[in-house]
């Protein structure tokens, strides 16, 4: 299910422009959407989910015009959506909540619905607590319920917005593995500011900044963007002599910084293999050259 976004602008009351003449093609498969907080990712996700209308521009999802009611209905029938801030009804059990969402998604036949709910609970490893009320669920369990509800209708388009925010490392890995196993003929749109999530799950990626597409390509191309610009610098000073700090590690000789810099930050700087995070920092233009 391809997505075509053409010259989309979304301006909110008060004049805040979240998306600014954004054009992007998203093909079938896993697709990562990276960007800082406030880059416009959530606004774009909400537009694609039919929850928000663009102020200007055109969105076509799987051949359906999102500007029309019929188009929106057609997309929603094939959509799985996990929003950034997912709430659940505390008074329902996990099974009841999924049954409710399944009914709203049009799974009308009782036997099929029960089977599908059971499968989803199994998929997210929550069968044991299926009949417990959701108010007692941890953050990780709630996210898993979130992905289960999104997958109930076997969607051709799955939109997940910041799915691993707030999860512990084990939950995060479990979630990423689950997402990676999904695509097939689906389009899975993963929006996140956590670069590692995209690195582990996506080949295609777009980077958003200030409501516009800053980059569109493969993960390898993002990584390549930082080629020859990633350094390890150890110093006792407050910061590295040049570049943007990717990470810092206390060391017996001082602090060891991993930096992205156009120039070698110091004589003893050691060149490193770039990662997606390095490429992301290089592409978002956050690099400052000092020293």
């Amino acid at each position: 299910m391809d997505i075509d976004i053409q010259n989309v602008t979304r301006t909110f009351r008060g004049g805040v422009t979240a998306l600014d003449d954004l054009t992007l093609h998203i093909p079938t498969g896993m697709f990562g959407l990276l960007g800082n907080n406030g880059a416009g990712k959530t606004t774009l996700m909400r537009i694609l989910a039919g929850l928000l209308r663009p102020t200007a521009g055109r969105v076509v999802v799987g051949g359906h015009e999102l500007a029309t009611k019929a188009g929106q209905q057609a997309v929603k029938a094939e959509l799985g959506y996990l929003p950034q801030d997912l709430g659940l009804y505390p008074d329902l059990t996990a099974r009841q909540f999924l049954d409710y969402v399944a009914l709203l998604k049009g799974l009308d036949r009782t036997a099929d619905r029960r089977r599908r709910v059971g499968e989803m609970l199994e998929l997210v490893a929550l069968t044991d607590v299926a009949d417990r009320r959701l108010k007692g669920f941890s953050g990780g369990m709630r996210r898993r319920i979130g992905i289960a509800q999104a997958l109930l209708n076997d969607p051709r388009l799955l939109i997940v917005d910041e799915p691993t925010a707030g999860l512990d490392p084990e939950e995060r890995i479990r979630f990423r593995t689950l997402l990676s196993q999904l695509p097939g003929s689906r389009t899975v749109l993963l929006s996140t500011h956590i670069v590692e999530d995209v690195a582990q799950t996506c080949r295609q990626v777009a980077i958003l900044g200030r409501g516009q597409v800053r980059f569109r390509g493969t993960v390898d191309e993002v990584v390549a963007h930082a080629g020859g610009r990633v350094w390890s610098v150890t110093t006792r000073q407050d910061g590295p002599p040049a570049g943007v700090v990717v990470s810092a590690l206390a060391h017996e000789d001082g602090t060891r910084y991993r930096v992205v810099s156009d120039i070698r930050p110091s004589e003893d700087a050691v060149a490193l293999e770039p990662t997606l995070e390095d490429g992301y920092l290089a592409l978002t233009g956050a690099i400052t050259v000092a020293g």
Binding site: K76, D91, L92, V101, Q149
Partner: protein, 261 residues
């Protein structure tokens, strides 16, 4: 239709499980017993069982709808508050059907404890007077008179918190209820004992033998809403409450759809 049924079913389940629905109604019932004990002779002195149950229903309606409206006030706005609205809005289910289902399910569940109290009163009267028709009459009053009133209160409780904070609605609603239903027209201009009063002044008098005259103080501007009691005006009163309920829900639907755009 399927979205309506699904939403009504699960909204009923959630509201039914809410302890406050039972606690608030129970506390109000105790309060009614405390302040209404002196009114028992008023109920038992009625000329027949039907009138006695009409009098009892009017006493029950003094407080119970206050709890009813307050308990329903968070139902529609909470979907946004607990951040579930987007998941539901992203389904192909029709938003209007979901709103209607939420209204029907949550209102029905909140009305159950009130129905139970009505039946308790009917059965208690039946035991005391040896007339088991009391339970039937009180049930009929609940269906014909109380339900339309609760339907109106429920629609208002779902709609108004979309445009004002829920606590403010609750305060205003309590004020409205006592002003518009409990106060006698002799005391001040009020919508009590008009066609628009959810207490069901016209239906109780026409269909259930409630035997006090409608008050029409000289010069009261609300007298235009106080025609003579007849079958037509009683039905009109019920119909007006139904129309107002639909209008309130339509308004809520419009506000909701605008807020998602």
């Amino acid at each position: 239709m399927k979205s309506f049924v699904a939403t009504a079913r699960y909204e009923f389940t959630m509201q039914w499980r809410k302890r406050s629905v039972w606690i608030v109604t129970g506390v109000l019932a105790l309060l009614l017993v405390a302040i209404g004990a002196g009114q028992l002779t008023y109920v038992f002195d009625a000329s027949d069982t039907k009138t006695a149950m009409a009098r009892a229903a009017l006493l029950l309606q003094l407080l119970l709808p206050v709890g009813y409206g307050s308990l329903l006030a968070d139902r529609l706005v909470r979907d946004r508050q607990i951040r579930i609205a987007e998941v539901l809005d992203a389904t192909p289910a029709d938003a209007t059907a979901r709103l209607a289902g939420k209204y029907a399910g949550s209102c029905a569940a909140t009305a159950v404890p009130i129905l139970v109290l009505y039946l308790v009163v009917g059965v208690a009267y039946g035991i005391a007077e040896g007339d088991w028709a009391a339970a039937g009459w009180v049930f009929a009053i609940f269906v014909v008179i109380t339900l339309p009133g609760l339907a109106f209160v429920g629609a208002a409780a779902l709609a108004f918190p979309l445009v004002m904070p829920t606590p403010l609605f609750r305060v205003l609603f309590v004020g409205y209820w006592f002003w518009g239903n409990a106060v006698t027209p002799a005391a001040m201009p009020t919508t009590a004992q008009t066609l628009l009063a959810p207490e069901g002044a016209y239906g109780l008098r026409q269909f259930f033998g409630y035997d006090e005259e409608i008050m029409r103080p000289r010069g009261d501007l609300f007298n235009v809403l106080r025609p003579e009691v007849s079958a037509t005006t009683a039905v009109l009163s019920i119909a007006l409450l139904a129309v107002l309920s639909v209008l309130l829900l339509a308004g809520a639907n419009a506000v909701q759809s605008r807020s998602t755009r």
